[in-house]
């Protein structure tokens, strides 16, 4: 059933003062703005006192996993053919709430009327997340919003084409560079005396797939 029409999307923070003492009413009073009905879009940026401010947003991820089985039994051939293939259960959408400034920071607050979260400084604002496959099923172990590029980014490394046993979740046949990764996406830029640049204005979704190999004799 549909309900009443939306109230206008008033700007979120800081209901302005009326400039009149409480109880003082006459025709020149400035009407206080009604309260916020909803949040701004995810990761909305604005100016703070000593740095950028950012509204709540969250990170969602999805992974698909293929399982390949190779066999090098003595069949008179020199190769190790791919004999079987399968797939893990189909994942849904996983959610991670970002922290502020670094991976030990406070969690962003999802309450409404919300607060903007003040970050440590001005500049480019990034959402950063870290993967650690050994922590499955919660493989996104860190997620935070930071100003600047202080975090070193490193994709989870690729896998050499081969027929050997390989599994990032249990570490079979992997190197450390293949067992973890750190990524980021630019949300926007907040700089003093410049207009805010808003790049991302939705929750961030990341979807990828993995290969597992097993070699049997």
């Amino acid at each position: 059933m549909k309900s009443d029409e939306l109230a206008p999307p008033h700007f979120p923070e800081n209901i302005p003062g009326t400039r009149f003492p409480e109880g003082h009413v006459y025709g020149a009073n400035k009407t206080a703005e009604p309260p916020l009905q909803h949040r701004p879009h995810p990761f909305a940026l604005s100016y703070g006192e000593n740095g950028a401010k950012i509204a709540y947003g969250q990170f969602t991820w999805h992974v698909s996993v293929f399982d390949l089985l190779f066999n090098n039994s003595d069949d008179g051939l020199d190769d190790t053919p791919l004999e079987r293939a399968g797939q893990d259960a189909i994942d849904g959408v996983n959610v991670v709430v970002p922290r502020l400034d670094d991976y030990t920071g406070d969690l962003m607050d999802r309450d409404i009327p919300n607060v903007y979260h003040e970050l440590d400084g001005y500049g480019d604002v990034y959402l950063v997340w870290r993967l650690e496959f050994a922590e499955a099923p919660d493989i996104v172990t860190q997620c935070y919003v930071e100003v600047g590029t202080g975090t070193t980014i490193a994709e989870a490394a690729g896998v050499t084409v081969d027929a050997t046993t390989y599994n990032r979740f249990d570490g079979s046949g992997t190197s450390s560079a293949e067992e973890e990764g750190t990524y980021r996406i630019k949300l926007g830029n907040v700089t003093e005396d410049a207009l805010v640049t808003q790049d991302i204005s939705s929750d961030v979704h990341w979807s990828f797939f993995l290969m597992e190999r097993e070699l049997t004799a």
């Binding site: 939306l6 025709g27 999805h62 004999e83």
Partner: protein, 214 residues
Amino acid sequence: MPVEITPAGPENIPDTGFPEGHVSAANNPAEPPLQHRPHAFALMHGDGGAKVAYGQLAWRIDVLQLSFATASGPVDEAGQLAIAAFNIKIPTIDSSTGEPMDRTAPNTYNQLDGYGDVYLYWETSLSEEELEDRVDACWVQVGGSSPAEDELDAVTTAAGAFGRFYPTTGSPSTAQLEGTYRVKLGTVNEDELVKQDHASDVYWSTVLLERYGG
């Protein structure tokens, strides 16, 4: 070169109810017209339950195809179905058979049946003939105890023919064809602040394996 954004709809400043130039403490301030919807799935308190603004599910599926020479392998061919764009599913209200959400702007909030945790659910039926029916239900409901999330089952590592799309190959089980997924949108309880978890349209993009031959 940057351009200024103009309002999305006609600008209809509502009548204040007073003639021009008439000013007194009883004047109603003219409310500015709504320029846009709130973010997707915006939650608020309603009359007897949560209210939710329009949002939608965008989904897509990639398919990797492997062809096996015999029942014990090996793979002798590999391919992939066309790379699909997004399919859009407009959620219904309260259940899979409810009214669809209204996407017109300025939109209305949609009243839900009760307070509590609010979820977006979707169900798959991968053997449906028409692509758009393979996510065959999508709805917003209060409460997450029923139905429970139920992922599409895994596929055993094997060489036998297997495919979940119509016409199905091999004999996929019901649990490999029909799944139930959900994302928590937030929480609306009486006398409490709204908690808004998800504030975007929801995306679900996955990959399926098909085996042939064997």
